[in-house]
Protein backbone atom coordinates (compact mmCIF):
# COMPACT_ATOMS: atom_id res chain seq x y z
CA UNK A 1 0.00 0.00 0.00
CA UNK A 2 1.36 3.43 -0.84
CA UNK A 3 2.17 5.91 1.91
CA UNK A 4 -0.42 8.39 0.61
CA UNK A 5 -3.12 5.72 0.78
CA UNK A 6 -2.11 4.90 4.36
CA UNK A 7 -2.64 8.55 5.21
CA UNK A 8 -6.20 8.38 3.88
CA UNK A 9 -7.21 5.40 5.98
CA UNK A 10 -8.66 6.33 9.36
CA UNK A 11 -8.05 3.61 11.94
CA UNK A 12 -9.47 5.41 15.00
CA UNK A 13 -12.58 7.37 14.06
CA UNK A 14 -13.02 8.93 17.51
CA UNK A 15 -9.58 10.55 17.50
CA UNK A 16 -8.80 10.80 13.77
CA UNK A 17 -5.76 8.52 13.74
CA UNK A 18 -4.58 7.19 10.37
CA UNK A 19 -3.02 3.88 9.39
CA UNK A 20 0.10 5.78 8.42
CA UNK A 21 0.51 7.21 11.94
CA UNK A 22 -0.01 3.77 13.49
CA UNK A 23 2.56 2.13 11.20
CA UNK A 24 5.10 4.90 11.84
CA UNK A 25 4.78 4.42 15.60
CA UNK A 26 5.18 0.65 15.36
CA UNK A 27 8.32 1.24 13.27
CA UNK A 28 9.57 3.62 15.97
CA UNK A 29 9.19 0.89 18.59
CA UNK A 30 5.77 1.54 20.16
CA UNK A 31 4.61 -2.03 19.82
CA UNK A 32 1.54 -2.33 22.02
CA UNK A 33 -1.99 -0.96 21.78
CA UNK A 34 -1.49 0.68 25.19
CA UNK A 35 1.58 2.64 24.09
CA UNK A 36 0.07 3.73 20.78
CA UNK A 37 -3.06 4.81 22.60
CA UNK A 38 -1.06 7.10 24.87
CA UNK A 39 0.74 8.81 22.01
CA UNK A 40 -2.15 9.19 19.57
CA UNK A 41 -5.35 8.95 21.70
CA UNK A 42 -6.44 6.03 19.49
CA UNK A 43 -8.92 4.11 21.61
CA UNK A 44 -9.59 6.92 24.09
CA UNK A 45 -12.78 8.12 22.41
CA UNK A 46 -16.43 7.23 22.94
CA UNK A 47 -16.13 3.80 21.27
CA UNK A 48 -13.37 2.83 23.70
CA UNK A 49 -11.20 1.13 21.04
CA UNK A 50 -13.93 -1.27 19.95
CA UNK A 51 -13.12 -0.47 16.32
CA UNK A 52 -9.48 0.58 16.30
CA UNK A 53 -8.18 -1.79 19.00
CA UNK A 54 -8.33 -4.98 16.88
CA UNK A 55 -7.01 -3.15 13.80
CA UNK A 56 -4.01 -1.81 15.71
CA UNK A 57 -3.35 -5.25 17.22
CA UNK A 58 -3.36 -6.75 13.74
CA UNK A 59 -0.93 -4.14 12.43
CA UNK A 60 1.43 -4.77 15.37
CA UNK A 61 1.23 -8.52 14.77
CA UNK A 62 2.00 -8.14 11.06
CA UNK A 63 4.89 -5.75 11.58
CA UNK A 64 6.53 -7.40 14.61
CA UNK A 65 5.74 -11.03 13.81
CA UNK A 66 4.41 -11.53 17.33
CA UNK A 67 1.14 -13.49 17.36
CA UNK A 68 -1.94 -11.62 18.59
CA UNK A 69 -2.66 -14.37 21.13
CA UNK A 70 0.46 -13.30 23.03
CA UNK A 71 -0.69 -9.69 23.43
CA UNK A 72 -1.99 -8.73 26.84
CA UNK A 73 -5.66 -7.80 26.53
CA UNK A 74 -6.16 -4.05 26.94
CA UNK A 75 -8.07 -2.75 29.93
CA UNK A 76 -11.76 -2.22 29.24
CA UNK A 77 -12.97 0.91 30.99
CA UNK A 78 -16.38 2.04 32.07
CA UNK A 79 -18.87 3.39 31.31
CA UNK A 80 -19.84 1.10 28.41
CA UNK A 81 -21.57 4.02 26.74
CA UNK A 82 -21.37 7.73 27.44
CA UNK A 83 -23.45 8.88 30.39
CA UNK A 84 -24.10 12.55 31.13
CA UNK A 85 -22.56 13.94 34.31
CA UNK A 86 -26.00 15.38 35.12
CA UNK A 87 -27.62 11.95 34.84
CA UNK A 88 -25.00 10.47 37.16
CA UNK A 89 -25.40 13.33 39.63
CA UNK A 90 -29.19 12.96 39.69
CA UNK A 91 -28.81 9.25 40.35
CA UNK A 92 -26.58 10.01 43.31
CA UNK A 93 -29.33 10.96 45.76
CA UNK A 94 -28.05 11.89 49.14
CA UNK A 95 -24.81 13.33 47.79
CA UNK A 96 -24.10 15.98 50.40
CA UNK A 97 -20.69 17.41 49.68
CA UNK A 98 -21.64 21.02 50.42
CA UNK A 99 -23.00 20.38 53.89
CA UNK A 100 -19.79 18.76 55.13
Amino acid sequence: MSKSKEKDIIVCRCSDVTLSEIRDLIKEGYTSVEEIKRITRAGMGPCQSKTCGPIIEREIAIMTGKPIEQFSPGKQRGPIKGVKLGTMAAANEGGKHREE
Partner: protein, 387 residues
Protein backbone atom coordinates in the same frame (compact mmCIF):
# COMPACT_ATOMS: atom_id res chain seq x y z
CA UNK B 1 22.82 -16.80 40.45
CA UNK B 2 22.91 -18.70 37.21
CA UNK B 3 26.00 -18.09 35.12
CA UNK B 4 24.07 -17.32 31.95
CA UNK B 5 22.59 -14.21 33.58
CA UNK B 6 23.67 -11.27 31.51
CA UNK B 7 26.04 -9.13 33.50
CA UNK B 8 26.78 -5.62 32.41
CA UNK B 9 28.31 -2.58 34.03
CA UNK B 10 26.34 0.63 34.35
CA UNK B 11 27.13 3.95 36.01
CA UNK B 12 23.55 4.13 37.26
CA UNK B 13 20.35 2.11 37.18
CA UNK B 14 17.07 3.99 37.43
CA UNK B 15 14.09 1.97 38.62
CA UNK B 16 10.84 3.24 37.14
CA UNK B 17 9.99 4.50 33.65
CA UNK B 18 7.60 7.24 34.66
CA UNK B 19 8.21 10.91 34.10
CA UNK B 20 10.58 11.11 37.08
CA UNK B 21 12.77 8.17 36.02
CA UNK B 22 12.95 9.26 32.37
CA UNK B 23 13.70 12.87 33.33
CA UNK B 24 16.51 11.85 35.69
CA UNK B 25 17.97 9.61 32.97
CA UNK B 26 17.99 12.55 30.57
CA UNK B 27 19.48 15.02 33.07
CA UNK B 28 22.27 12.56 33.93
CA UNK B 29 23.05 11.91 30.27
CA UNK B 30 22.99 15.60 29.46
CA UNK B 31 25.64 16.12 32.14
CA UNK B 32 27.85 13.39 30.73
CA UNK B 33 26.70 10.25 32.53
CA UNK B 34 25.28 8.32 29.58
CA UNK B 35 26.04 4.74 30.65
CA UNK B 36 22.69 4.54 32.39
CA UNK B 37 19.82 2.04 32.29
CA UNK B 38 16.17 2.70 33.07
CA UNK B 39 14.33 -0.44 34.18
CA UNK B 40 10.54 -0.37 33.82
CA UNK B 41 8.39 -3.37 34.66
CA UNK B 42 5.64 -2.41 32.24
CA UNK B 43 5.90 0.33 29.59
CA UNK B 44 6.80 4.01 29.93
CA UNK B 45 4.28 6.17 31.84
CA UNK B 46 2.20 3.06 32.56
CA UNK B 47 1.94 3.91 36.27
CA UNK B 48 1.06 7.10 38.08
CA UNK B 49 2.47 9.42 35.39
CA UNK B 50 0.11 8.23 32.69
CA UNK B 51 -2.85 8.25 35.06
CA UNK B 52 -2.43 11.68 36.60
CA UNK B 53 -4.52 14.81 36.22
CA UNK B 54 -1.79 16.50 34.14
CA UNK B 55 -1.87 19.78 36.07
CA UNK B 56 1.10 22.07 36.62
CA UNK B 57 0.57 24.29 39.63
CA UNK B 58 2.86 26.84 41.25
CA UNK B 59 0.41 28.00 43.90
CA UNK B 60 1.90 26.15 46.86
CA UNK B 61 2.05 26.89 50.54
CA UNK B 62 5.71 26.00 51.09
CA UNK B 63 8.65 27.91 49.70
CA UNK B 64 10.50 24.77 48.61
CA UNK B 65 7.44 23.48 46.74
CA UNK B 66 6.86 26.86 45.09
CA UNK B 67 10.44 26.93 43.84
CA UNK B 68 10.39 23.35 42.57
CA UNK B 69 7.11 24.03 40.77
CA UNK B 70 8.15 27.39 39.33
CA UNK B 71 11.40 26.07 37.95
CA UNK B 72 9.65 23.01 36.53
CA UNK B 73 7.03 25.19 34.88
CA UNK B 74 9.72 27.27 33.20
CA UNK B 75 11.28 24.08 31.84
CA UNK B 76 7.92 22.89 30.49
CA UNK B 77 7.41 26.24 28.74
CA UNK B 78 10.39 25.48 26.49
CA UNK B 79 10.42 21.70 26.56
CA UNK B 80 9.51 21.00 22.93
CA UNK B 81 12.62 22.95 21.91
CA UNK B 82 15.00 22.05 24.73
CA UNK B 83 14.38 18.32 24.27
CA UNK B 84 14.12 18.68 20.49
CA UNK B 85 10.81 16.82 20.61
CA UNK B 86 9.22 15.85 17.30
CA UNK B 87 5.73 15.74 18.82
CA UNK B 88 4.12 18.30 21.16
CA UNK B 89 3.94 18.09 24.97
CA UNK B 90 0.75 20.20 24.72
CA UNK B 91 1.69 22.53 27.52
CA UNK B 92 -1.08 25.07 27.98
CA UNK B 93 -1.00 27.85 30.55
CA UNK B 94 -4.63 28.62 31.28
CA UNK B 95 -3.98 29.20 34.97
CA UNK B 96 -5.26 27.52 38.12
CA UNK B 97 -8.30 28.91 39.89
CA UNK B 98 -8.23 27.76 43.52
CA UNK B 99 -11.52 28.04 45.41
CA UNK B 100 -11.92 28.79 49.13
CA UNK B 101 -15.24 28.21 50.91
CA UNK B 102 -14.33 28.62 54.59
CA UNK B 103 -12.62 31.43 56.51
CA UNK B 104 -9.80 29.10 57.50
CA UNK B 105 -9.12 28.13 53.92
CA UNK B 106 -9.28 31.73 52.80
CA UNK B 107 -6.78 32.83 55.44
CA UNK B 108 -4.48 30.01 54.39
CA UNK B 109 -4.77 31.10 50.75
CA UNK B 110 -3.85 34.68 51.63
CA UNK B 111 -0.82 33.44 53.55
CA UNK B 112 0.18 31.21 50.62
CA UNK B 113 -0.16 34.10 48.15
CA UNK B 114 2.18 36.24 50.23
CA UNK B 115 4.79 33.50 50.16
CA UNK B 116 4.20 32.90 46.44
CA UNK B 117 4.77 36.60 45.67
CA UNK B 118 8.09 36.49 47.55
CA UNK B 119 9.15 33.65 45.29
CA UNK B 120 8.16 35.11 41.96
CA UNK B 121 4.77 33.45 41.61
CA UNK B 122 2.47 36.43 41.09
CA UNK B 123 -0.85 34.89 42.09
CA UNK B 124 -3.88 37.18 42.04
CA UNK B 125 -6.52 37.28 44.75
CA UNK B 126 -10.06 37.23 43.36
CA UNK B 127 -13.49 37.95 44.78
CA UNK B 128 -16.25 35.50 43.81
CA UNK B 129 -17.42 38.03 41.19
CA UNK B 130 -13.92 38.28 39.74
CA UNK B 131 -13.63 34.49 39.72
CA UNK B 132 -16.73 34.47 37.54
CA UNK B 133 -14.96 36.67 35.03
CA UNK B 134 -12.41 33.87 34.61
CA UNK B 135 -14.97 31.03 34.57
CA UNK B 136 -18.34 32.66 33.80
CA UNK B 137 -20.41 29.59 34.66
CA UNK B 138 -18.74 29.01 38.05
CA UNK B 139 -21.27 28.55 40.85
CA UNK B 140 -20.12 31.06 43.47
CA UNK B 141 -22.63 30.06 46.13
CA UNK B 142 -20.84 29.85 49.46
CA UNK B 143 -17.55 30.91 47.88
CA UNK B 144 -15.32 33.13 50.04
CA UNK B 145 -12.87 33.91 47.30
CA UNK B 146 -10.38 32.45 44.90
CA UNK B 147 -6.75 32.76 43.89
CA UNK B 148 -5.57 32.65 40.29
CA UNK B 149 -2.15 32.33 38.73
CA UNK B 150 -2.16 32.67 34.98
CA UNK B 151 1.09 30.79 34.42
CA UNK B 152 -0.18 27.56 35.97
CA UNK B 153 -1.46 25.07 33.44
CA UNK B 154 -1.32 21.52 32.21
CA UNK B 155 0.73 19.32 29.87
CA UNK B 156 0.36 15.86 28.38
CA UNK B 157 2.07 13.44 30.81
CA UNK B 158 2.60 10.76 28.15
CA UNK B 159 4.24 13.20 25.80
CA UNK B 160 6.43 14.79 28.47
CA UNK B 161 7.66 11.32 29.44
CA UNK B 162 8.08 10.42 25.78
CA UNK B 163 10.05 13.62 25.16
CA UNK B 164 12.48 12.82 28.00
CA UNK B 165 12.71 9.20 26.85
CA UNK B 166 13.56 10.09 23.27
CA UNK B 167 16.09 12.72 24.30
CA UNK B 168 17.75 10.36 26.80
CA UNK B 169 17.85 7.56 24.27
CA UNK B 170 19.56 9.78 21.70
CA UNK B 171 22.26 10.47 24.31
CA UNK B 172 22.81 6.74 24.81
CA UNK B 173 20.62 5.82 27.78
CA UNK B 174 19.36 2.24 27.71
CA UNK B 175 15.68 1.52 28.45
CA UNK B 176 14.68 -1.98 29.55
CA UNK B 177 10.90 -2.15 29.28
CA UNK B 178 8.76 -5.06 30.50
CA UNK B 179 11.64 -5.84 32.85
CA UNK B 180 11.20 -6.11 36.58
CA UNK B 181 13.73 -5.47 39.30
CA UNK B 182 13.79 -8.54 41.53
CA UNK B 183 16.41 -7.45 44.05
CA UNK B 184 19.21 -5.03 44.74
CA UNK B 185 22.43 -6.41 46.21
CA UNK B 186 24.45 -4.29 48.62
CA UNK B 187 27.85 -4.98 50.13
CA UNK B 188 29.27 -3.12 53.14
CA UNK B 189 26.52 -0.53 52.91
CA UNK B 190 27.14 0.14 49.22
CA UNK B 191 25.12 -0.68 46.11
CA UNK B 192 26.69 -3.52 44.17
CA UNK B 193 24.22 -5.05 41.73
CA UNK B 194 20.64 -4.91 40.46
CA UNK B 195 19.00 -8.22 39.66
CA UNK B 196 16.27 -7.98 37.02
CA UNK B 197 14.15 -10.37 34.99
CA UNK B 198 16.38 -9.33 32.08
CA UNK B 199 19.65 -10.20 33.81
CA UNK B 200 22.02 -8.68 36.36
CA UNK B 201 23.41 -5.18 36.16
CA UNK B 202 26.56 -4.25 38.08
CA UNK B 203 26.34 -0.67 39.31
CA UNK B 204 27.27 1.58 42.21
CA UNK B 205 24.25 3.83 41.88
CA UNK B 206 20.54 3.10 41.96
CA UNK B 207 17.72 5.61 41.70
CA UNK B 208 14.38 4.65 43.21
CA UNK B 209 11.80 6.31 40.96
CA UNK B 210 9.24 3.55 41.35
CA UNK B 211 6.23 5.71 42.24
CA UNK B 212 3.49 3.55 43.77
CA UNK B 213 6.03 0.77 44.33
CA UNK B 214 8.79 2.88 45.90
CA UNK B 215 8.45 1.29 49.34
CA UNK B 216 9.02 -2.16 47.90
CA UNK B 217 12.11 -0.99 46.03
CA UNK B 218 13.58 0.74 49.10
CA UNK B 219 12.99 -2.43 51.09
CA UNK B 220 15.33 -4.27 48.68
CA UNK B 221 18.25 -2.29 50.13
CA UNK B 222 16.90 -2.53 53.67
CA UNK B 223 15.66 1.05 53.81
CA UNK B 224 12.21 1.60 55.27
CA UNK B 225 10.52 4.70 53.85
CA UNK B 226 7.35 6.14 55.40
CA UNK B 227 5.23 6.12 52.24
CA UNK B 228 1.88 4.53 51.47
CA UNK B 229 0.22 4.06 48.12
CA UNK B 230 -3.33 5.21 47.71
CA UNK B 231 -5.75 4.99 44.79
CA UNK B 232 -7.06 8.22 43.30
CA UNK B 233 -9.79 8.06 40.69
CA UNK B 234 -10.39 10.26 37.71
CA UNK B 235 -12.70 10.51 34.71
CA UNK B 236 -12.83 12.18 31.32
CA UNK B 237 -15.73 13.47 29.26
CA UNK B 238 -16.37 13.73 25.55
CA UNK B 239 -14.52 16.63 23.87
CA UNK B 240 -16.40 19.88 23.34
CA UNK B 241 -15.50 23.36 22.08
CA UNK B 242 -13.27 25.38 24.37
CA UNK B 243 -15.28 26.76 27.29
CA UNK B 244 -12.92 26.76 30.27
CA UNK B 245 -9.30 27.87 30.32
CA UNK B 246 -8.00 27.27 33.86
CA UNK B 247 -7.81 24.24 36.10
CA UNK B 248 -10.52 24.69 38.74
CA UNK B 249 -9.58 23.24 42.11
CA UNK B 250 -10.89 23.09 45.67
CA UNK B 251 -9.02 21.48 48.54
CA UNK B 252 -12.16 21.57 50.67
CA UNK B 253 -14.24 19.69 48.11
CA UNK B 254 -11.18 17.60 47.21
CA UNK B 255 -11.63 18.15 43.50
CA UNK B 256 -9.83 19.40 40.41
CA UNK B 257 -11.15 19.81 36.88
CA UNK B 258 -9.60 21.04 33.64
CA UNK B 259 -10.50 21.13 29.96
CA UNK B 260 -7.71 19.59 27.90
CA UNK B 261 -6.48 21.10 24.61
CA UNK B 262 -8.30 18.16 22.97
CA UNK B 263 -11.59 19.50 24.40
CA UNK B 264 -12.40 16.82 26.96
CA UNK B 265 -12.82 17.63 30.65
CA UNK B 266 -10.62 15.68 33.05
CA UNK B 267 -11.60 15.64 36.71
CA UNK B 268 -10.58 13.89 39.87
CA UNK B 269 -11.62 13.59 43.47
CA UNK B 270 -9.68 12.62 46.58
CA UNK B 271 -11.42 10.21 48.95
CA UNK B 272 -10.27 10.67 52.57
CA UNK B 273 -11.46 7.13 53.37
CA UNK B 274 -9.53 5.44 50.58
CA UNK B 275 -7.83 2.31 51.91
CA UNK B 276 -4.05 2.10 51.40
CA UNK B 277 -2.69 -0.35 48.86
CA UNK B 278 -2.09 -0.96 45.19
CA UNK B 279 -5.70 -1.36 44.07
CA UNK B 280 -6.39 0.78 40.98
CA UNK B 281 -9.83 -0.51 40.02
CA UNK B 282 -12.49 2.06 39.17
CA UNK B 283 -15.71 2.35 41.16
CA UNK B 284 -19.22 3.57 40.36
CA UNK B 285 -19.28 5.37 43.71
CA UNK B 286 -16.54 7.67 42.48
CA UNK B 287 -18.43 8.39 39.28
CA UNK B 288 -21.55 9.36 41.23
CA UNK B 289 -19.76 11.48 43.81
CA UNK B 290 -17.59 13.22 41.21
CA UNK B 291 -20.66 13.98 39.06
CA UNK B 292 -22.56 15.45 41.99
CA UNK B 293 -19.79 17.78 43.06
CA UNK B 294 -18.67 18.96 39.64
CA UNK B 295 -22.17 19.66 38.32
CA UNK B 296 -22.73 21.78 41.43
CA UNK B 297 -19.49 23.76 41.02
CA UNK B 298 -19.61 23.96 37.21
CA UNK B 299 -23.31 23.45 36.30
CA UNK B 300 -23.08 23.41 32.46
CA UNK B 301 -20.95 20.27 32.68
CA UNK B 302 -24.23 18.42 33.36
CA UNK B 303 -24.66 18.04 29.62
CA UNK B 304 -21.29 16.39 29.03
CA UNK B 305 -21.03 12.64 28.68
CA UNK B 306 -18.48 10.69 30.69
CA UNK B 307 -16.40 8.68 28.25
CA UNK B 308 -13.96 6.86 30.50
CA UNK B 309 -12.82 6.50 34.08
CA UNK B 310 -9.58 5.17 35.51
CA UNK B 311 -7.38 5.37 38.59
CA UNK B 312 -3.76 5.64 39.60
CA UNK B 313 -1.66 5.60 42.72
CA UNK B 314 -0.55 8.52 44.85
CA UNK B 315 2.62 7.64 46.74
CA UNK B 316 1.99 9.57 49.94
CA UNK B 317 4.41 10.69 52.66
CA UNK B 318 3.40 11.83 56.17
CA UNK B 319 3.96 15.50 55.18
CA UNK B 320 2.72 15.28 51.57
CA UNK B 321 6.17 16.34 50.36
CA UNK B 322 8.49 14.08 48.36
CA UNK B 323 11.56 12.21 49.58
CA UNK B 324 14.46 13.32 47.41
CA UNK B 325 18.11 12.47 47.07
CA UNK B 326 20.70 10.30 48.77
CA UNK B 327 20.44 8.58 52.11
CA UNK B 328 23.23 7.93 54.57
CA UNK B 329 21.81 4.45 55.12
CA UNK B 330 23.07 3.02 51.82
CA UNK B 331 25.81 4.57 49.70
CA UNK B 332 24.77 5.03 46.09
CA UNK B 333 21.03 4.78 46.75
CA UNK B 334 19.10 7.82 45.57
CA UNK B 335 15.37 8.41 45.71
CA UNK B 336 12.76 10.55 44.02
CA UNK B 337 9.59 9.17 45.57
CA UNK B 338 6.58 10.01 47.73
CA UNK B 339 5.36 12.84 45.52
CA UNK B 340 1.93 12.60 47.17
CA UNK B 341 0.00 13.34 43.97
CA UNK B 342 2.09 16.11 42.46
CA UNK B 343 5.11 14.36 40.97
CA UNK B 344 4.36 15.16 37.36
CA UNK B 345 4.38 18.92 37.81
CA UNK B 346 7.68 19.04 39.71
CA UNK B 347 9.48 16.25 37.86
CA UNK B 348 11.54 18.51 35.54
CA UNK B 349 13.31 20.43 38.31
CA UNK B 350 13.48 17.43 40.63
CA UNK B 351 15.32 15.47 37.95
CA UNK B 352 17.94 18.21 37.55
CA UNK B 353 18.57 18.30 41.31
CA UNK B 354 18.88 14.53 41.63
CA UNK B 355 21.27 14.43 38.66
CA UNK B 356 23.35 17.25 40.16
CA UNK B 357 23.57 15.47 43.50
CA UNK B 358 24.53 12.14 41.89
CA UNK B 359 27.29 13.81 39.89
CA UNK B 360 28.62 15.78 42.84
CA UNK B 361 27.75 19.09 41.21
CA UNK B 362 26.52 22.23 42.91
CA UNK B 363 22.75 22.07 43.40
CA UNK B 364 20.54 24.75 41.81
CA UNK B 365 18.13 24.50 44.77
CA UNK B 366 18.58 23.16 48.27
CA UNK B 367 16.88 19.76 48.62
CA UNK B 368 18.07 18.87 52.10
CA UNK B 369 14.61 19.75 53.44
CA UNK B 370 13.30 16.83 51.36
CA UNK B 371 15.78 14.21 52.54
CA UNK B 372 14.64 10.96 54.12
CA UNK B 373 16.39 11.85 57.38
CA UNK B 374 13.82 14.57 58.13
CA UNK B 375 11.45 11.96 59.52
CA UNK B 376 14.09 10.78 62.01
CA UNK B 377 14.93 14.35 62.91
CA UNK B 378 11.25 15.26 63.22
CA UNK B 379 11.62 18.09 60.71
CA UNK B 380 8.55 17.53 58.59
CA UNK B 381 7.80 19.95 55.76
CA UNK B 382 4.04 20.16 55.97
CA UNK B 383 2.41 21.36 52.76
CA UNK B 384 -1.04 22.82 53.50
CA UNK B 385 -2.37 22.77 49.96
CA UNK B 386 -2.97 19.30 48.56
CA UNK B 387 -5.95 17.40 47.14
Amino acid sequence: MKEENIVKNKDAVIIGGGVVGCAIAYELAKRGMTNVTVVEKNFLASGATGRCGAGVRQQWGLESNILLARNSCEILENMNESLDYDRDIEFHQGGYLLLAYSDDQWQQFLKNVELQHKNGVMTKVKTPEEAKEIVPFLNTEGLKGATFYEKDGHADPFKVTDAYYKAAKRLGVEFLLHTEVLDIVTKNGKIEKVITTGGDILTERVVNAAGGWSKEVAKMVGVDIPVVSERHQILVTEPVAKMMDPMVMSFELGIYCQQTPHGSFIMGLGDPNEPKGHNIDSTWQFMHEMSSIITDVLPPLKELRIVRQWAGLYNVTPDAAPILGKTDKVEGFYQAVGFSGHGFMIAPMTAILIAQQMLGLELSLDITTYDLGRYDRGELVVEPSVV
